[in-house]
Symmetry: C2
Subunit: 230 residues, 2 copies
């Protein structure tokens, strides 16, 4: 059985959960709080970051990009018509460019602030940096969110899926990022109709369902979060 | 002919140059100053980052990781015995874990500061943020460098190459990062003998030669930079 070390609201972990869902793979989840730097977890991944995937007590697979490539190589055969990385190297390069965009750029400029300030800091003990959200960090994130929604809207308006004709890791990464922000009501959906209708398509996939039932203690989801007709 | 948009002292670009050298691929180089945000370059890569590889006027391949995977897929066959990504998925996962470590973590915690403060800021006009290096940023980078050298030394002391028995993208990424710092005399080689002897092996490869002849105007290389018996 595959085991995923994750946090329910870590957008990177969510990307991997969506991919596992698309491949129809069963897996166990363990919530990890990376700021605690648990010794046994550092033995698995010296970087101390989530997500980490462990296969049948084999070697750990550390990091979102690494896990997605690993899943394509070991599970890609199971969904040949809708492989999440296309076959042609140039098309793969386009999917990967957008994986890089969403997993690093979008995360760094928007999600890392939102999730850290509004979720992790509520769960962290003060000695790990927990406390009230920093409103100036959130302000920056919200401005950047506008630019990213515009870019996603441009892609969604000119292509069937974000990287081309097929659903790919790029869609899962972008949707996972947005979903974590959406839980907190941090996505101004009215800004871009193309973004909204693309997201509605991803959100209605069976792989998305487990994410929609995630709950954070003391912080209910925004009214539109689990609504497929938001 | 392949064309690489790069900066001679960008550690990410250097990783790609080493990989192209290992594959024995001819390529043209164009120096790009990403802070200028040149319009034609943004058309190639909307993220505005280097390196970007362009193949025979085909679609651009943007980002270090994306380029390395692309090269493995399109050139890997040319060096079957010493492929830079191994065949087995678990071994690939280990190479990629270290690619992630060096290209993102090592870069973010060390090289981004060193290269930005000591190279890019010398080349930037003041309106782009050019000027004197920030000594507090360099102090952080130098402390972090110590931790990273220790980890590289641990890997080099327990394995033939950093990710296992074969030279891989992980070695190229780590060596490229170190080479940019080494030009500036920012690598305390005496700290770790294993790191030093591993680096000497990478540095003596033919793929490394072009890097050793890079020069920055007004800032000569450290005495050990081009010396194979440093």
């Amino acid at each position: 059985m595959l085991k995923l070390y994750h946090h329910p609201f870590c957008p990177h972990s969510r990307t991997v959960r969506l991919a596992l869902g698309e491949y129809g793979v069963q897996f166990d989840c363990t919530t990890e709080y990376p700021w605690i730097r648990r010794q046994d977890f550092l033995m698995l991944n010296p970087a101390g970051t989530i997500p980490v995937l462990n296969e049948n007590d084999g070697g750990p697979v550390c990091g979102t990009w690494v896990i997605l490539e690993y899943l394509d190589e070991t599970r890609g055969y199971s969904i040949p018509d809708r492989r999440l990385l296309p076959d042609h190297p140039a098309k793969r390069a386009e999917v990967r460019r957008l994986m890089d965009w969403f997993l690093y750029k979008f995360h760094q400029e928007v999600l890392s602030y939102i999730v850290h300030e509004r979720i992790y800091k509520q769960e962290m003990a003060p000695k790990y940096g927990g406390g009230q959200p920093d409103s100036s960090a959130l302000r920056v994130a919200r401005i950047n969110m506008g630019h990213h929604l515009q870019y996603i809207g441009y892609l969604a308006g000119t292509r069937k899926w974000l990287a081309g004709d097929q659903l790919s890791f790029a869609d899962l990464a972008a949707a996972a990022m947005l979903s974590a922000a959406d839980y907190l009501g941090e996505v101004p959906w009215s800004r871009d109709e193309n973004t909204k209708s693309w997201y509605a398509r991803v959100k209605s996939r069976p792989s998305f369902r487990p994410l929609l039932s995630d709950k954070m203690l003391g912080m209910p989801a925004s009214p539109t979060y689990a609504d497929l007709d938001f």
